[in-house]
Amino acid sequence: MKSSVITFPGSNCDRDMDIALTKFGFKNKMVWHNDQELPKSDLIVLPGGFSYGDYLRCGSMASKSKIMHSVINFAKTGGLIMGICNGFQILVEAGLVPGVLLRNKYLQFICKNVHVKVNNKENTFFKNLDKKVLEFHIAHNEGNYFCTNDQLKKIEDNNQIAIYYCDQNGNTNDQINPNGSIKNIAGIFNKEKNVLGMMPHPERMIDQSLSGEDGSIFFKNLLNNIK
């Protein structure tokens, strides 16, 4: 299976994502933001980081990069796209998934392990996943997901919520919400469920010696689903 990770100026999880994808069997290529064409890929990943320093609005400048035309076209033709953290912010700015990401409720960067509950398994990303609750890792300053009530209704009606922040038993409540996201939303799909944006970093959970191994479960399952 072929994947491509796009490096924007200021991306800093591009290498980590490359290592994770390669570890679980993807043939991965790194793609420069200023390129016009995407290599042939089964999966495109927009990695985490601080593209353009997050100076204007997180993700906004990167969403206008040259390569994004191809990424948007790829999405339209049903190609699989995953945006992690800053990649999620870029997807939002590019209009590929609904909503916006605001500054964290307590106005602080947060780096820690969190639990997320998978809401929708009828898609390539989470299909056949054994576990309902995964332990992932977050590291962000602007992960506070927000959308209008109308949008939220559409999102829910379409079953577009991918994952929620929850406790280790899968309960979602305000206390467990790390950043103030509406409805504890940690990740969301586009209408067609071929584009996933999420704040947590599965690529940081791929080794027993790191923060944990639920990232490994996610990537292995993803590869099998694409095969």
Binding site: G10, C13, N141, S209, L210
Partner: protein, 729 residues
């Protein structure tokens, strides 16, 4: 503008220094030249008060590839790999403007490391604030933490460990020391020594603005009531540009275009160009009209003294300009050929086709002032006689609660959760342990790093304190299973013009040197920060030591959390009951006098190396060094981390129970072993003459000190974790 003595003094020079400049030049300098001299001759750049003493530091060792004198130190970690590391202070700017001060401190130290060709792999920091009651403390802490995070998180280098303390003596002068480690191949290290004639001198990175002009001079003076006016001398950081600069420099470094490279840190273009010329015994010629400027009408004086961040100066091989330019264009960074190397041994500056400065390089470097300042030796204070009946009135539980929740012991999670400590995917020990540990990418090796200081001990007796800080970092490394290799030091003191302060400096340096020599743990880099005082009130002497160690097989790394019920816990090292200068003495008994605990270097080395041996043999399940708050505080932390309890067995000690639990004797650790290994472990300890006490065994969820004194793990946790969070609300 005509230069005279008055103007020189306004630049922070002394009368006799100005006289010396005129004599060396055989004429009166012009204003640009005076600016250059003031920047090069201030304390921050010239080390004029400290140089004579720094020579005494122990800097040699088998693993040292590069000692002090370069952008950073370099040590060998085998297999062709090397670690580049250094610590640096950014105290003065952080007090004036905490966010930018701290942020640019992090940016500056990372540049020092990647200038040498190394990719930064970990950041650490040591930050010190005034009393928690002081009106500025909370905002300064918040600003500094945001600044450190803002810069490090954006660049994408994990912040893996640190230290935070509070003490009244920092009320008017906080300390922000930042440390970076980088990984490089031994044969791809870059240095700042220029070589060859007529080689192009290249400017890359951000444009030059008026920010930070005279920053280094500001950092070399004490504060008074007008500090707010100094805000314009604080630089503004741009981590995004630094990230681009990092990637562009590493890309250029993978080829063979660079002869020498130097980042523009303190005193910007001035010190970077002069240092490269001086090390290469060459001259340098710069056309200032070619320097990319952010603002219009900048004068030569301003261009030379600007401390705008994220800039580098490179001496390139002739003919490689196009290759280099292409890389910097790709990363959208300024690139300009601004001059060349010459054989004049002078620094010559041109602006609008006129020569605006012409100074022999050696007058700025070798001939810079060096002072053997007067200093006062300190006496070892007399031991306090503590009335033993005082101990009887103390309840262990209440005392422990106070200590665990005290600002200098409590959990610093509120701080380190704001730092990205997992990016780069190699962090295998996060903040909150004895050392941070990152794997050496794609190998079985790991690097442990820690940063520490003990201002109270240094204040009570600088010589002992200096030794103690080194040993503390040594123990932190041993506790995670790392072989300590080398250190970097950041020496934060008050005014060197005061005999007491100078004495503290001299004796701390002596202590550091003795310990480093004995432990074969050399100093490879560092910096000195004097004049940490406001209105004549200086800080406690605060030498900060950053220690670096190697774990050959990362799977053998040790953590402090208790692992398994029924395992046995041993105290390694002898507990004599030293209470003076301990937390117990200071915050419970309200006694601030007395000597710090004695440091026995033989025991430190012997205990440490014996533990490494036990770790190598897989006997140790968890370990933690005993420091502030003594044995019981250390045990509590192991319980909290492991979510397990302990049934404490009263060892057969002759001293009072309170003394045993809270004393801060040095050279001690706690280790957890499997009961089946007890015999073998005790045999090894006995054979190496290492003292140990069997202090009990691990149980579930409760710390039982005696029948009447029990604490649940949740209680311990809440004492330890709540204070900082509620303070910062």
């Amino acid at each position: 503008m005509l230069v005279n003595e008055k103007i020189a003094i306004e630049h922070g020079l002394k009368s006799d220094e100005y006289e010396k400049i005129c004599k060396l030049l055989k004429r009166t300098p012009n204003i640009t030249e005076l600016g250059i001299f003031s920047a090069m001759w201030n304390e921050h750049c010239s080390y004029k008060s400290s140089r004579i003493h720094l020579k005494k530091l122990h800097t040699k060792g088998k693993k040292v590839i590069q000692g002090p004198g370069e952008n950073a130190g370099v040590i060998d970690i085998e297999d062709g790999d090397a670690i580049v590391f250094k610590i640096e202070s950014h105290n003065h700017p952080s007090f004036i403007e905490p966010y930018q001060g701290a942020a640019t401190g992090v940016g500056g130290i990372m540049r020092d490391v990647f200038t040498m060709g190394a990719r930064p792999i970990a950041n650490l920091n040591s930050i010190h604030f005034g009393s928690t009651q002081h009106k500025k403390t909370k905002n300064l802490l918040r600003g500094v933490v945001h600044g450190i995070g803002g810069y490090g998180n954006c660049i994408g280098v994990p912040t893996i460990a640190g230290q935070t303390s509070f003490d009244r003596s920092y009320n008017g002068n906080i300390l922000v020391n930042a440390m970076t480690l980088g990984l490089v191949k031994k044969d791809k290290i870059f240095y700042s020594r220029a070589a060859g004639l007529n080689k192009p001198v290249i400017y890359v990175g951000s444009k030059t603005g008026r920010d930070g002009i005279h920053g280094a001079s500001m950092a070399s003076a004490s504060f008074d009531d007008k500090i707010e006016e100094k805000k314009p001398t604080v630089q503004v950081g741009d981590p995004f540009t630094e990230k681009l600069l990092l990637e562009a420099c590493l890309e250029l470094m993978s080829g063979d275009s660079i002869i020498a490279i130097q980042d523009m840190g303190a005193a910007g273009l001035t010190s970077s160009s002069i240092e490269m010329a001086s090390k290469g015994n060459l001259g340098i010629e710069i056309n200032l009209n070619k320097v990319p400027c952010r603002e219009t009408k900048m004068t030569p004086y301003e261009i030379m003294l600007s401390e705008s961040q994220e800039r580098m100066l490179i001496v390139l091989e002739s003919g490689k300009e196009e290759i280099a330019k292409k890389i910097f264009d790709k990363w959208n960074l300024d690139f300009a050929v601004i001059g060349k190397t010459t054989n004049t041994k002078n620094i010559e500056l041109f602006f609008d086709n006129k020569q605006v400065a012409n100074i022999p390089v050696n007058t700025l470097v070798e001939n810079s002032p060096m002072y053997d300042r007067k200093w006062k030796k300190s006496k070892l204070p007399k031991k306090n006689k503590i009335d033993k009946t005082t101990f009887k009135s103390l309840k262990i539980k209440d005392t422990l609660k106070k200590i665990l929740s005290s600002p200098n012991v409590c959990s610093k999670e509120w701080i380190w959760q704001q730092y990205d400590h997992t990016v780069m995917g190699d962090t295998i020990q996060k903040p909150g342990g004895d050392s941070g540990v990152v794997r050496v990418h794609k190998t079985d090796k790991a690097i442990a790093a820690t940063v520490d200081s003990s201002a109270t001990y240094c204040w009570a007796h600088p010589l002992t304190g200096g030794k103690q800080v080194v040993c503390e970092t040594w123990r932190n490394l041993i506790s995670v299973g790392a072989k300590p290799l080398a250190v970097t030091n950041c020496l934060n003191f008050g005014s060197p013009e005061k005999e007491e302060n100078m004495g503290e400096f001299v004796e701390c340096v002596q202590g550091i040197s003795e310990a480093c020599k004995y432990l074969d743990y050399p100093v490879v880099s560092g910096n000195v920060s004097f004049y940490n005082e406001t209105k004549d009130i200086g800080i406690k002497p605060t030498p900060t030591i950053g220690g670096v160690g190697l774990i050959k097989d990362y799977k053998k790394m040790i953590t402090m959390d208790f692992k398994e019920i029924d395992n046995v816990v041993l105290v390694i090292g002898k507990t004599e009951g030293h209470i003076d200068q301990s937390l117990l003495s200071r915050i419970i008994l309200n006694e601030n006098n007395g000597p710090p605990p004695e440091v026995n270097l033989f025991n430190e080395k012997n205990n440490g190396l014996t533990l490494l041996n036990l770790i190598e043999k897989n006997f140790i399940k968890s370990a933690h060094d005993v420091s502030l708050g003594g044995i019981i505080t250390a045990i509590s932390k192991m319980c909290i981390k492991g979510d397990k309890g302990i049934k404490i067995k009263k060892p057969k000690f002759l001293i009072n129970e309170i003394e045993y639990f809270f004393a801060e004797d040095q050279g001690r650790y706690l280790i957890e072993i499997n009961p089946k290994d007890f015999k073998e472990v005790s045999k090894i300890l006995d054979k190496n003459s290492v003292h140990y006490d069997d202090i009990g065994k691990i149980i579930d969820k409760e710390m039982i000190i005696d029948q009447k004194t029990k604490l649940t793990i949740d209680e311990l946790k809440s004492y330890n974790t709540n204070w900082l969070k509620s303070y910062m609300v």
